[in-house]
């Protein structure tokens, strides 16, 4: 699912220098639009078109960011959010890959699980949030379980597709060369399905990230970026909210760029399965 054009843009953060252009110029070219938007923001904020409490100038947002970082509040929020994300995602990765492989290899598992998963998948994860809160109470358990639950679906789907997509010829030639079940699995099926599994993990993580912030707002966890910006609303602290949003965006970008592109480069790209 979601294969055509699912993420051409995410792999294309601007700033890739075109041939014959120095790095420095490319950086300027990337920075330019932000400068323009920043300048417009600043002008609107300074003219006080909107109340400054609601539309603070950029240096106020920056000051809030520095203040919160220096006092350790922002890092604490960010750390808790990340831990929650990792816990939920780890859960989803293990469960999702196992279920996906089982569905790919066994007809029975496929027949049993596929209908359930096809019914569960189109419901947006956040819609389950109140139900999870009711079942598991406010707080961490609900948040982690919900994040895990939501990101399991793309992982299962892609793992299942990947295992199914392993070339029959590879399997048969491995069998002909005398591979036993375990080696067949470890040396042929798993590497063969890995590009799909990685795509699934990536989609799952993106899904988890998109839900987590909302869940934190609903689940009343004591720490977390979602909770921080939602709580700041009560006191009209727009500067704190915007600083939080920036941090959320930075984390999302870092997850995509640093974690997954690197993982891909070390595995499937090196093996020549993807370019």
């Amino acid at each position: 699912m979601q294969s055509v054009g699912a993420g051409p843009a995410s792999t294309f953060l601007a700033g890739s220098p075109s041939p014959g252009e120095s790095r420095w110029r490319a950086a300027v070219r990337t920075a330019f639009p932000f400068l323009v938007v920043g300048a417009i923001w600043e002008v609107v904020a300074r003219l006080q078109v909107f109340p400054p409490r609601l539309f603070p100038p950029l240096e106020v947002v920056a000051a809030a960011f520095v203040r919160l970082t220096a006092s350790g509040v922002l890092p604490h929020h960010a750390l808790d959010t990340l831990l929650r994300l990792l816990a939920g995602f780890a859960l989803a990765a293990v469960v999702g890959v196992v279920i996906g492989i089982a569905m790919g290899r066994s007809r029975l598992a496929e027949d049993t699980l596929l209908p359930l998963i096809s019914i569960g998948a189109p419901i947006p994860g956040i819609a389950y949030a109140p139900l999870f809160l009711l079942w598991f109470g406010l707080g961490n358990v609900s948040a982690v379980l919900l994040v895990g639950f939501v990101s399991t679906f793309p992982i299962v789907f892609n793992t299942w597709t990947g295992v199914k997509a392993v070339k029959e010829v590879w399997v048969r030639s491995a069998l002909a060369m005398g591979a036993d079940d375990r080696r067949l699995f470890g040396k042929v099926i798993l590497p063969g399905a890995l590009p799909y599994i990685l795509t699934g993990l990536r989609l799952g993580l993106a899904q988890a990230w998109r839900i987590l912030v909302g869940v934190e707002m609903l689940a009343a966890v004591p720490w977390g970026l979602g909770w921080m910006i939602f709580g700041a609303r009560e006191f009209l602290n727009t500067d704190v909210m915007l600083a939080g949003v920036v941090v959320i965006g930075a984390i999302g970008l870092a997850l995509e760029k640093l974690v997954f592109q690197r993982l891909e480069r070390f595995t499937v790209v090196r093996w020549g399965m993807m370019t």
Binding site: T112, G125, V245
Partner: protein, 263 residues
């Protein structure tokens, strides 16, 4: 693939597994291990669903949600589609908007909910704004990559046959980008559907399926929650299959650009 007989045969294990899951759930619910308010039996959920439909509240909530999604998506398409196409055609526009889009995209739309509540107040404007934000980027980026992915051979063939700029654009570039545009619409809807439910929960506005679920939590009405969940899933599924499936069949499949994939 997918002759009637074959389809019926592949339906059977599916139905079996659903029945099995329903039976397990039902026996859990009836065993009394969990309180009935938290884990209602299936007939209770069914009754909540029927009651909600009959007294008109559930259709009303569904309409409110659909209105927000469709309006937000309409805005997102009317901004994202032209901008994406322009980005694909003109390098300076691409150079300006691409970095902005890449920086805004990783921010989940729900993170903006508190900010939008402050700016636009509780209610429709916030929900529609969140939907717009959520749906804009998939639309924009797919339109952009769609225009860029048009086979240059087609363009050259078109101009060799004497097409002018305008004809090339309307007869080659746009139809050529169509698979991407449809993928963009699909993705935009998926995101919008998540965003609207979340926004309705957080920006409480009396109407909407997300709000019903959230409100039902306060009164421990798990049956209402499950019934609304079913409606949310059903609408999402209907859009995916009926609206986008039909659109795809009427355009790119008929033009032979993508093969029918699903049986």
């Amino acid at each position: 693939m997918s002759t009637a007989a074959e389809r019926a045969r592949s339906m059977r294990p599916g139905a079996m597994s659903l029945l099995l899951a329903a039976a397990i759930y039902e026996s859990l619910a009836r065993s009394g291990v969990f309180p009935a308010a938290l884990l209602p039996t299936l007939p209770a959920v069914g009754r909540a669903l029927v009651e909600g439909v009959l007294d008109g509240s559930l259709p009303g909530h569904a309409l409110a949600t659909l209105y927000r999604v469709l309006l937000g998506m309409g805005l997102a398409v009317s901004v994202g589609l032209p901008l994406g196409i322009l980005m694909g055609r003109f390098r300076p526009i691409e150079g300006f908007f691409l970095p902005l889009a890449s920086a805004l995209m990783p921010i989940p739309s729900l993170a903006w909910v508190p900010v939008f509540i402050l700016w636009f107040g509780l209610g429709n404007a916030t929900a529609i704004g969140i939907v717009l934000y959520a749906a804009l980027f998939p639309m924009l980026l797919n339109a952009w990559s769609g225009v860029r992915a048009v086979n240059p051979l087609w363009l050259r063939a078109g101009s060799a046959m004497g097409a002018n700029e305008r004809a090339l654009f309307w007869k080659v570039s746009i139809p050529g980008a169509f698979p991407f545009l449809i993928a963009g619409l699909r993705q935009a809807f998926l995101r919008a559907w998540i965003a609207v439910v979340g926004a309705e929960m957080l920006a409480a506005s009396d109407w909407g399926l997300g709000w019903v679920i959230f409100d039902a939590k306060e009164f421990l009405k798990a049956d209402v929650m499950l019934a609304s969940l079913a409606v949310i899933g059903l609408i999402g599924f209907a859009f995916e299959r009926l609206v986008f499936g039909t659109l795809e069949r009427a355009t790119v499949q008929r033009w032979g650009m993508v093969r029918a994939m699903k049986g």
